[in-house]
């Protein structure tokens, strides 16, 4: 579903302070795989997601999504294949527009937009049904501006929007990190539910190692712009956070600079 070959990206190239973010990342995801990504700050987790989504062009390497080489595609074009939820709950929705308007835009993700009415009658009952599934009472607030919603509500809505038109690949960039613990847990459960129901292929960045091992089907660890550890199946099921940490120490020959950040 996703194939990455030797992705490299250095920011501030050609300046006195070039910052390498991705240093030859290769990765292959089969359909239906749910991969969690961990790593300390600056490891390149978000850069990896941004590179796949097309936020910036990569310096070298190849990105293939669902058999299509998208390396040269601009971000808006890749949207037909990729759904995305950002860390900032404010980022995934248009605050001045209503819930139903936001959802209607998500329905048209990656499709040509014309002069047809943005919201058609039959959409509303569909939206109401989907929103009812969130259990947040949003199904009765279709015409409310998104600005009026809480962070958790907005993030749940964004998640719904990112998966509305079933993307080939779903990118989640620490999408629960900015929420309070209880809301974060709810959004996590919702994520699991939506991913399972739609059998989506997912890349999820998280700071929480325990969460990383419990969620999904595979875990990769990044360090200094490279994938240094990749585990799935039985071995992963038996792993604990302590095992991950000692694995890191063994691989790098050093202790983690900041265990706290990695543990979340």
């Amino acid at each position: 579903m996703l194939e990455l070959y030797e992705i490299r990206k250095t920011f501030n190239l050609g300046t006195p302070t070039p910052t390498p973010a991705l240093r030859g990342v290769s990765l292959k995801l089969s359909p239906g795989e749910f991969v969690t990504i961990i790593g300390s700050n600056g490891a390149g987790k978000s850069s990896l997601l941004n590179a796949i989504a097309g936020t910036f062009p990569v310096d070298s390497g190849k990105i293939i999504i669902d058999g299509t080489d998208v390396t040269d595609w601009p971000e808006y074009k890749r949207a037909s294949l990729v759904g995305r939820v950002f860390q900032d709950p404010m980022m995934g929705t248009a605050a001045s527009m209503s819930i139903e308007e936001n959802m209607a835009m998500a329905v048209k993700r990656g499709q040509a937009r014309g002069l047809a009415r943005g919201i058609k009658g039959e959409m509303r009952s569909y939206f109401r049904e989907l929103l009812a599934g969130l259990g947040l009472g949003l199904e009765n607030r279709l015409t409310d501006k998104v600005r009026l919603l809480s962070g958790g509500q907005r993030q749940s809505l964004t998640l719904l929007m990112a998966t509305l038109s079933k993307p080939k690949l779903l990118l989640l960039d620490e999408h629960t990190a900015a929420l309070d613990p209880k809301t974060a847990q709810q959004v996590s459960q919702l994520t699991d539910k939506i991913v399972r129901e739609n059998n989506l292929t997912v890349l999820m960045v998280t700071h929480n190692m325990e969460h990383a091992l419990k969620t999904g089907t595979r875990t990769i660890m990044m360090h200094e712009g490279q994938v240094i550890f990749d585990v799935s199946g039985r071995k992963r099921e038996q792993m604990k956070v302590a095992d991950l940490l000692s694995e890191f120490a063994r691989l790098r020959g050093e202790r983690l600079a900041d265990d706290k950040i990695l543990l979340g």
């Binding site: 037909s80 835009m105 943005g118």
Partner: protein
């Protein structure tokens, strides 16, 4: 004395300039793009329509060409911003400055009088509309049509994409919209409306002048803000309506300022002060709140 022609004149001006204000609303409010090119595209519309009439073209054709010229001017600003990565403010200023020369080129001189020429108003009079109502009726119909079309457009799929581009470009890009293209498109329709308004004004007041665009942006903003302050509109449909009414109220304020004895040459200053007060209102109220929260001794220190 508030005679019918006086009242009608204020309303007519409010209506005809509201089309320009709607253009400013599209860039400033919908697209969140402070576009100063309107100071050039307003006289551009006037210049194009006056020149074509003098050259013997039908006044209605002249208006359509004025609209098209405005579309092109807006698209140019969009090109400067999205392709050449020139900041929004500077892109608008560059277009505005370039248009000053373009407008002089089009007209061939600084001023074209149209008093002896046919205009869309004289054509409508010939068609049977009494001359004292012709401007009022035609402007009213035009504004209603433009409002309905704008309401409709902003609720289409493209309209949603345009609004989201101004609200949250990151989000709408992740949903597959080319935000650069949306910006160019929004700037084009905005300046098209402004130039169309300029074309109408030239025919209405009976001349086009190269200097008639100065302060267009401030006047447009004044209308938008007055409408917002008066109605606090939330929905798009009421926002559009409030801009139109804001334009009328603005013209009324100008009329009253003249009655109070301000010289016509002072009006830009009056308008600017109005806009500054409106824009600074949130800051003023924050200052007031802070002053209240501070203990007296600290405030005095």
């Amino acid at each position: 004395m508030l005679t019918f022609p006086v009242v009608a004149g204020v309303i007519e001006q409010g209506l005809v300039y509201s089309l320009m204000a709607l253009g400013v609303y599209i860039t400033f409010r919908v697209l969140d793009f402070p576009d100063l090119s309107v100071d050039g595209s307003f006289p551009l519309g006037a210049a194009v329509s006056a020149k074509l009439i003098v050259d013997g073209y039908n006044p209605f054709v002249a208006l359509v060409v004025a609209l098209a010229a405005g579309l092109a001017a807006g698209a140019f600003t969009g090109f400067l911003n999205t392709r050449l990565r020139i900041s929004s403010l500077l892109a608008g200023i560059l277009t505005m400055t370039a248009l000053y020369s373009v407008n002089l080129r089009i007209m061939g001189r600084a001023n074209i009088p149209l008093l002896m020429e046919p205009t869309f108003l004289t054509l409508l009079e010939k068609a049977g509309i009494p001359s004292e109502y012709v401007a009022l009726v035609s402007f009213f119909v035009l504004v209603v049509v433009v409002k309905l079309v704008l309401d409709w457009f902003l609720h289409t799929e493209v309209g949603f994409a345009l609004r989201a581009t101004g609200d949250n470009p990151i989000m709408i890009r992740s949903l597959g919209v080319n935000t650069d293209r949306m910006k160019v498109f929004g700037l084009a329709i905005s300046n098209g409306l402004v130039a169309f308004s300029g074309g109408l004004v030239a025919q209405y007041q009976g001349f086009a002048d190269v200097g008639m665009g100065i302060g267009t942006i401030v006047t447009g903003l004044a209308s938008v803000i007055i409408g917002e302050v008066l109605f606090h509109p939330r929905r798009v449909v009421t926002q559009v309506l409030s801009v139109i009414i804001g334009s009328m109220v603005y013209r009324l304020a100008i009329f009253l300022a003249l009655r109070l004895g301000f010289a016509p040459t002072d009006l830009k200053l009056v308008t600017t002060v109005l806009v500054i007060i409106a824009l600074a209102a949130p800051t003023f109220s924050r200052w007031r709140k802070q002053a209240k929260l501070l203990p007296k001794s600290a405030a005095g220190a």
